[in-house]
């Protein structure tokens, strides 16, 4: 009871301290006065009475202290005192504190953001036994193709193998969805019922479709993704069972998937995939992504072995299409991570390096400050502060700094998270949903606290070491000073090395970005707007209807004021959606399937090369007469011509794209156009064959509109034209061709921007670091320089002494940085286009920038050394 009551009363006293102090003062006063009264009554003079009273009562101040000690919790009391003192020290040197807090906050914040993202992306999916859900890819090893999609017959043979509990397939498409009076393009999957069921995630609302429902001529059904349902349908649960206009016809909404359902892109709508039609029988037409759940009790390795047997069997049976093919099982988690690995590795590494640089910078700053405070510590030790008390006070001070930084860090953390999410990378799905991971934040705060506390305690350690009198006399023991100097030098080296690594990586990315922007794409991307249309097959079932639509649209656009030309192709060069085929020619027989040249093919309207300003090198362009019933023709690009018919004119030669395809006559040669980034990374440059749009009309097409001036000004007029032709066929992905070129590089842009930012921060830190070290050096040696100058040294000599030291640090740091950068930049190589990871120009530029800034940062304080007035310097200590 007592043991409990006393601390409570003390705590109360601690809180209401002002009142307690007043009471105490009053009681003392009363006590004193009563004593005086008594003394007066005893006949003393008033002065004597007061003097005696004071004597009898003992020291007033000690009494007050004794009462205070009794009244409070000493630990909390001294801690509060430490906090107050710490806060005073922090606010007394605001510049220093701001730099420390900002450095820490940026390091912690950025790190927390990236780590939170990484953890969220890498967290196992909310799938029932996720390791058993696998993608089935086809690898064609000898041709160097990986992760090919599957053909319908292959898929059906796999499904019959008995290795899978459920095996499904999907095709990545999109849908024209009408909501209210507006039709929008929404991405989605056509997926078999088993494909949707393979994930083992029950829908959040309603149900998913069954295999029995996904048959030719079956009902039109749809399942909605959670994001689409929430954002476009206001999360209205009554939508289940209602009809939605998708691709111009009514689809019954069966259910809504939960938020945790994994997305591979931005798919929002799932409709049943029906496997029929002529393509379903062609083993060479690969367009299915296959996903399945392994049969119960079957291990992944065993399943892969048995799958290899199936592949061998198919290869023997169908050498023309499956000869070189091997089906590979990839667990879904791994597949999702694979996409994000490159970008995450780069971001993760960069942010980690920056945190290291921040810690080095903090350590450097604290050491510098520690040196300056050595005297203060010695003084406090001299007047009786215990070593432990000094340590505790410094500890409190740095914990306080860390706490402030931790709070401030929320700002950069949020900014970085928002920034990354704004890129909406397919590689980093759901980033907009990721919240700050408080555990990661705490970990980072603790990490940087440890760094700052360790180095912040140096002055206290010194106060214990140093003889108090010496400490007071010379501010700091010279031995300890040397250690400090060495440590700080080491930190500057580390900072320079880190800055070099980050800047080289950023520089390489910027170079490759410039390369992409400036290199000649083979067409003129300026003033060209592009947009896509994906015709609903139900509304445009025949090639004639599709051709008619695109012809009408192109003509309508051409008539708009400000438009120089407008045309249609099924894909423009910037796309990563490629259509590839083997190239057959009449001249040479190819013995083995894997030796056959792979080319891209696409169809274009006659004036497409003219609108895009692609040079016609030989022969003729397509004309309107190249229609369906006319002789089949093709145009090849220069590299295909040179590779296939070296030294000959390709005009009049015959080619076909697939063994069952018809022969076509080559009528022209056109210049090479730059291809999509993804493709370039995957295969290098492939040849391109163009077909007349009229002879191979597709449902989806890209329009190109060349304008006189700013093409984006035409957007609403263009939409109106499309609207007037068919309300239900929306235009989407409207952007300039220049933007489209960059769009495939969003991951690249994100990495470039973040690395450049982190690199600049590291650069700033390194500059501050070298400045601090040189300034400190000059400050400590003022006396020495004074003597040197007095003895006749030229200012230049003094400058050289200081400078030599700084340059040595920078050279060592830069050297280490270059070596590390050379080893590490391989990580970014997957994001580089047209630049080698060892690009000497980048390395030189980075070294030059860092060298110049470092030189300036050390010259400014070094010059101060030459201005030392010998007499003042000698007198100063």
């Amino acid at each position: 009871m007592t043991a409990f009551r006393r601390p409570l009363a003390r705590l109360r006293a601690l809180l209401g301290r002002g009142a307690q102090d007043r009471r105490l003062a009053e009681e003392f006063e009363t006590h004193l006065l009563m004593q005086v009264d008594d003394n007066l009554r005893a006949g003393m003079s008033p002065e004597e009475a007061r003097r005696q009273a004071l004597l009898a009562s003992g020291g007033l101040q000690q009494a007050a202290e004794a009462v205070r000690d009794q009244r409070r919790l000493p630990l909390i009391e001294t801690t509060l005192q430490d906090v107050r003192y710490g806060w005073r020290m922090i606010t007394r040197a605001p510049g220093f504190s701001v730099v420390v807090v900002l450095t820490l906050a940026i390091g912690i914040g950025a790190n927390t953001a990236i780590y939170s993202l990484t953890e969220a992306v890498l967290t196992p999916l909310a799938i029932e036994s996720p390791n058993r859900v696998v993608f089935v890819w086809t690898d064609a090893a000898k041709r160097g193709w990986r992760q090919l999609p599957a053909s319908v017959p292959d898929f059906e043979d796999w499904a019959a193998s008995g290795l899978f509990d459920k095996l499904g397939a999907f095709v990545d498409t999109g849908f024209n969805v009408r909501l209210g009076d507006q039709t929008d393009r929404v991405s989605g999957l056509q997926i078999t019922a088993d494909g949707l069921a393979a994930f083992g995630i029950p829908p959040a609302l309603g149900r998913i479709f069954t295999t029995a429902e996904a048959v030719p001529g079956g009902a039109r059904l749809a399942v909605l993704g959670h994001a689409f349902w929430a954002s476009r349908l206001a999360a209205d649960p009554s939508v289940v069972g209602r009809d939605l206009v998708i691709d111009g016809s009514l689809h019954r909404v069966l259910g809504v998937l939960p938020e945790t359902f994994p997305r591979f892109g931005r798919e929002d709508i799932y409709t049943p995939l029906v496997l029929d039609g002529p393509a379903a029988a062609d083993r060479g037409k690969r367009n299915l992504t296959v996903i399945g759940r392994l049969a119960p009790g079957l291990r992944l390795a065993t399943a892969q072995q048995r799958m290899d047997e199936v592949s061998r069997h198919l290869a023997e049976q169908f050498p023309a299409t499956d000869g070189d093919c091997l089906a590979r099982l990839q667990p879904i988690g791994e597949a999702l991570v694979e996409d994000s690995r490159a970008i995450l590795t780069v971001l993760f590494g960069a942010v980690g390096l920056m945190l290291l640089a921040a810690c080095a910078n903090i350590a450097n700053l604290l050491l510098a400050r520690g040196t300056a405070r050595g005297r203060e510590m010695a003084l406090r030790a001299a007047i009786g502060a215990s070593h432990w008390r000094l340590c505790r006070q410094l500890l409190t001070e740095h914990l306080l700094l860390g706490a402030v930084a931790g709070v401030v860090a929320l700002l950069p953390a949020t900014i970085v998270m928002r920034f990354v999410a704004s890129f909406q990378l397919d590689e980093l799905p759901h980033t907009n949903l990721v919240g700050l991971n408080t555990r990661v934040l705490a970990f980072n705060v603790v990490l940087s606290l440890i760094a700052s506390v360790v180095f912040g305690l140096v002055p206290a350690w010194q106060a214990r070491q140093a003889d108090v009198r010496n400490g007071l006399k010379t501010a700091i023991g010279s031995a300890a000073g040397t250690i400090h100097r060495r440590l700080r030098g080491a930190f500057v080296i580390v900072e320079f090395a880190l800055a070099i690594v980050l800047l080289v990586a950023a520089g390489l990315l910027i170079r490759s970005f410039l390369q992409i922007r400036s290199s000649d794409p083979g067409y003129d991307p300026r003033h060209v707007l592009t947009m896509r249309v994906a015709l609903a097959e139900t509304r445009y079932p025949t090639p004639e209807a599709r051709l008619a639509y695109y012809t009408r649209l192109s003509e309508g656009l051409r008539r708009l004021p400000g438009v120089v030309g407008a045309s249609t192709a099924n894909e423009i060069p910037t796309t990563d959606d490629y259509h590839a085929a083997g190239l057959w020619t009449s001249d040479a027989a190819v013995a083995r399937a894997e030796d056959r040249t792979i080319v891209l093919y696409g169809s274009i309207m006659p004036d497409y090369p003219q609108v895009m300003r692609m040079p016609l090198l030989q022969g003729r362009a397509f004309v309107d007469a190249d229609r369906e019933k006319a002789p089949l023709v093709a145009i090849v690009d220069r590299s295909t011509a040179a590779r296939t018919w070296p030294g000959e004119s390709p005009i009049g030669k015959r080619l076909k794209l697939g063994s069952n395809e018809p022969w076509r006559e080559v009528v022209g040669v056109i210049g090479d156009a730059e291809q999509g980034v993804l493709l370039k990374l995957l295969k290098g440059r492939l040849g391109q064959v163009y077909l007349p749009f009229a002879q191979a009309p597709t449902t989806a097409g890209s329009l190109v509109v060349r304008a006189n001036g700013d093409p984006t000004a035409l957007t609403s007029a263009i939409r109106e034209v499309a609207h007037s032709i068919d309300v239900d066929q929306p235009l989407f992905q409207i952007r300039t061709v220049a933007d489209a070129r960059a769009a495939g590089r969003a991951a690249h842009r994100l990495a470039t921007t973040l690395l450049a930012t982190f690199g600049s921060v590291a650069l700033l830190m390194a500059t501050l670091g070298i400045y601090g070290v040189v300034a400190n050096n000059v400050g400590e040696r003022t006396r020495e320089f004074g003597i040197r100058l007095a003895l006749g040294a030229a200012p230049r000599d003094v400058l050289a002494v200081v400078f030599r030291n700084a340059v040595a640090l920078m050279v060592v740091g830069t050297g280490i940085g270059l070596v590390v950068a050379g080893a590490l930049t391989r990580v970014v190589s997957s994001l580089l286009v047209g630049v080698q990871p060892t690009d000497p120009a980048t390395y030189l530029a980075v070294v030059a920038v860092l060298g110049c800034l470092g030189a300036i940062a050390s010259y400014v304080p070094a010059r101060r050394a030459t201005r030392v007035d010998p007499t003042t310097a000698l007198r100063s200590e």
């Binding site: 009363t30 006590h31 006065l33 009563m34 009562s57 003992g58």
Partner: protein, 115 residues
């Protein structure tokens, strides 16, 4: 005036409680004077010792205090013994009596050590 000894630590609380028990509510100065008086002016009570002691007793709940007015019209804080204080006093009185009793036996010049 004979040199006075400062009140011993540990004994102050029992003296304060006893004083308040016999005299009723008293202010700090009164307590100090009374203790000095009772000791035959052989003890001196400084307020550096007294007030921390009083505060501790109050925190422990053995005394309570409130503002009042002294005989010569001064505002003073009056301390009174509580029920817990009385119990404590009884217990401590017994303890002290035992202690002094034992000490006395030890210190008596002619002890009956040979039994």
């Amino acid at each position: 005036m004979a040199p006075r000894v400062e009140v011993w630590l540990g004994t102050l609380s029992v003296m304060v409680l006893k004083t308040l028990d016999t005299m009723g509510p008293l202010h700090g100065y009164g307590i100090a004077r009374r203790i000095e008086q009772t000791s035959g002016h052989r003890l001196a009570v400084h307020y550096g010792t007294l007030y921390p002691g009083l505060l501790q007793l109050e925190q422990d709940g053995f005394v309570s205090s409130e503002w009042g007015v002294s005989d010569n019209g001064r505002r003073a804080r009056y301390y009174a013994i509580t029920r817990a204080g009385k119990k404590r006093l009884a217990k401590q009185t017994a303890q002290w009596q035992q202690t002094t009793d034992i000490l006395e036996r030890f210190l008596r010049p002619h002890s009956e050590e040979v039994s």
